[in-house]
């Protein structure tokens, strides 16, 4: 069994043994199904306005009530799941790709490349996450794509740091030195020997970052800088409903609960994976890189 397979199997067996992680995985599977089938599962169109039913209480016809335009909140919450998951996956994928590439080059070659690349990461690390994301979206213009890019940029440094730290220890291993001695190219060594051996901390970081990315997207949308109306997003629904919340509690409760449950599920899975795959990864790095 290769190291890559063993990491994957350890991850799966960990998740199966931890009841909280199982709950997390089940919730995530449900969310993915809802995200994919959302438009077909929703009982109403997300932008079907019903002026006779504005701010209607939750009922059998509208389980989560209706908003200030009479739109069905349940349908909008369901369809918005896709947006949140899409933004999280694409932005974390971007952060992973850029961060791993930078960390790999910095850790493998060290020297001036390491210095230059990691100082650039330090600069990005000097900004609070949401502030930098807001600034990037502000200059590029609000929207789904720019939100994805902004979140990807702000989370790339953490992947670069995690990758570099792991590469520094792996590159000193005998199998890497053996590969160098028989003339294997750097690119092949990195791809075939280094990357599979640093998978564990990256899997952990990815699962935790997905939770942070969902929160960041919701925050950007809450500020009107993420998904643009009339497309539904949980953050934007909270923003639009905040003026009515004391009269129509459901506008504040359900979209927020959807964000909360999704983030909690990612955190439960991420924590369980960390406990087994990378127990040394400090909570300090989380504290330094909160969603604010």
């Amino acid at each position: 069994m290769s190291d890559h397979e063993s990491t994957f199997r350890r991850a799966v067996s960990t998740l199966r043994r931890d009841p909280l992680a199982v709950i997390g995985v089940v919730v995530l599977v449900v969310l993915v199904v809802v995200g994919v089938l959302g438009p077909w599962l929703a009982p109403y169109g997300t932008n079907d306005v019903d002026v006779d039913n504005m701010l209607a209480h939750p009922s059998a016809a509208h389980p989560f009530g209706t908003d200030e335009l009479g739109r069905d909140v349940f349908s909008r919450v369901i369809v918005a799941a896709r947006v949140s998951l899409e933004v999280a996956v694409v932005s974390v994928g971007l952060a992973l790709a850029v961060g791993v590439l930078i960390g790999l080059v910095a850790g493998y070659y060290r020297g001036w490349a390491d210095n230059l690349l990691m100082r650039c990461m330090d600069v990005l690390f000097a900004f609070p996450v949401l502030l930098l994301a807001v600034a990037i979206v502000a200059v590029l213009g609000p929207g789904l794509l720019t939100a994805m890019v902004a979140i990807g940029v702000v989370y790339a440094p953490i992947f670069a740091r995690v990758t570099r730290a792991s590469v520094l220890s792996v590159r000193e291993q005998v199998f890497v030195r053996a590969a160098v001695s028989i003339g294997t190219s750097d690119a092949r060594i990195m791809r075939r020997h280094v990357l599979p051996n640093i998978a564990a901390p990256l899997i952990v970081q990815t699962s935790l970052s997905l939770a942070f990315a969902i929160l960041s997207e919701a925050a950007l949308s809450f500020l009107g800088l993420g998904v643009q109306p009339p497309a539904p997003s949980w953050g934007r629904m909270l923003y639009d409903g905040r003026g009515f919340v004391t009269d129509a509690w459901w506008l504040g409760v359900f979209p927020g609960a959807a964000i909360f449950v999704t983030v909690l599920a990612f955190n439960l899975v991420g924590d369980a994976l960390r406990d087994v795959l990378d127990p040394r990864q400090l909570t300090l790095s989380e504290a330094r890189r909160s969603t604010r």
Binding site: A126, L131, A138, V139, A218, G252, L264
Partner: protein
């Protein structure tokens, strides 16, 4: 220790220079002419030319950057596209509101996290420990602005105890300030409390397994004395870092909560400048926050090295 401080100072200065470059480049990333965008459709050529020249946008990029850094070093961050006021004045006017919110939030967070984290570790495996772990897991997963909305719903809507939003100056009306600050401070403080609880618990647990704690136990010291005199002294050293990092992030990053509660701090200013496309103010707010963030991190590293001499040797 001296060499460590100098090394960290130099590193921070280099990063700060990089921060100014990123902040400067933000304006260059704006598609089109930022002055034209800021002025909208109704403006006269004279106003446009004056603002463009005053912003230095008609000069080569390198000259613009050097001039930006030079001016920033003397506290001059340019002028607002909207009001023509100096950006430094605008940003500094908002600092007290953010400072008072951040400090209140961190005090609330510490009041919750210290007893909960310590008791949770000392009584590891108990019902209290489980409750503390559930609290910290829920706290890191809940969006702070949703907490805020729920707070408004309960304390302003249902109970009518607190105002839903707004601000009163601490100097002019301490009671008014207190009634307005509770909800936003509790909202952001709760997230910090959950992170701190988790960290304090793991830090205390780690020290509890050390040999010197076992020795203190073996000597027959009372458990309270062991915890207060031996465990806490050592366990709280790394906690200092996390407390300061939380404070730094509160100082700069509570944009959403400041918007939700109409709190006139740096976060709200950032949001308003984005809405008004007032890029110099946006740049100024981002630069100030990043510099504050960097400064607090530098202080923490130095303080940490002082508390734990092993750090500066590494």
């Amino acid at each position: 220790m001296g060499r460590f401080v100098v090394r960290r100072l130099v590193q921070s200065a280099v990063v700060l220079l990089g921060v100014t470059l990123v902040v400067f480049l933000l304006l260059q990333l704006v598609p089109g002419d930022p002055v034209r965008i800021a002025l909208g459709t109704r403006y006269d050529q004279g106003t446009y030319d004056a603002l463009r020249a005053r912003s230095g946008l008609d000069r080569p990029l390198v000259v613009q950057y050097l001039s930006y850094v030079g001016h920033a070093a003397t506290g001059d961050l340019g002028v607002s596209f909207r009001t023509g006021q100096p950006v430094t004045t605008i940003v500094l006017e908002r600092l007290p509101a953010t400072l008072s919110l951040a400090l209140t939030a961190i005090v609330l967070a510490l009041l919750v996290a210290f007893p909960l984290g310590i008791l949770s570790a000392v009584r590891s495996g108990s019902a209290l420990d489980h409750a503390a772990r559930v609290f910290s897991q829920l706290g890191v997963s809940v969006p702070d602005f949703w907490m805020g909305i729920m707070g408004i719903l309960l304390f302003s809507g249902v109970l009518a105890w607190l105002p839903p939003s707004g601000y009163e100056s601490l100097r002019e009306s301490p009671a008014g300030w207190a009634s307005h600050v509770i909800l936003p401070a509790a909202t952001v403080g709760l997230v910090s409390a959950s992170i701190l609880t988790r960290f304090i618990r793991s830090s205390v647990l780690e020290v509890l397994s050390e040999d010197f704690v076992r020795t203190a136990d073996a000597k027959g010291l009372r458990p309270r004395v062991v915890v207060l005199r031996h465990v806490l002294r050592n366990a709280l050293i790394p906690v200092v870092t996390v407390v300061a990092v939380q404070l730094a992030s509160l100082l700069g990053g509570v944009i959403v909560v400041e918007v939700l509660f109409a709190w006139p701090g740096i976060g709200r200013l950032t949001y308003d400048s984005v809405q008004a496309r007032d890029y110099p103010v946006l740049q100024g707010a981002v630069l100030l926050v990043a510099a504050l963030f960097l400064f607090v991190n530098l202080l923490v590293d130095i303080l940490y090295a002082r508390l734990d001499p092993r750090i500066s040797v590494r």
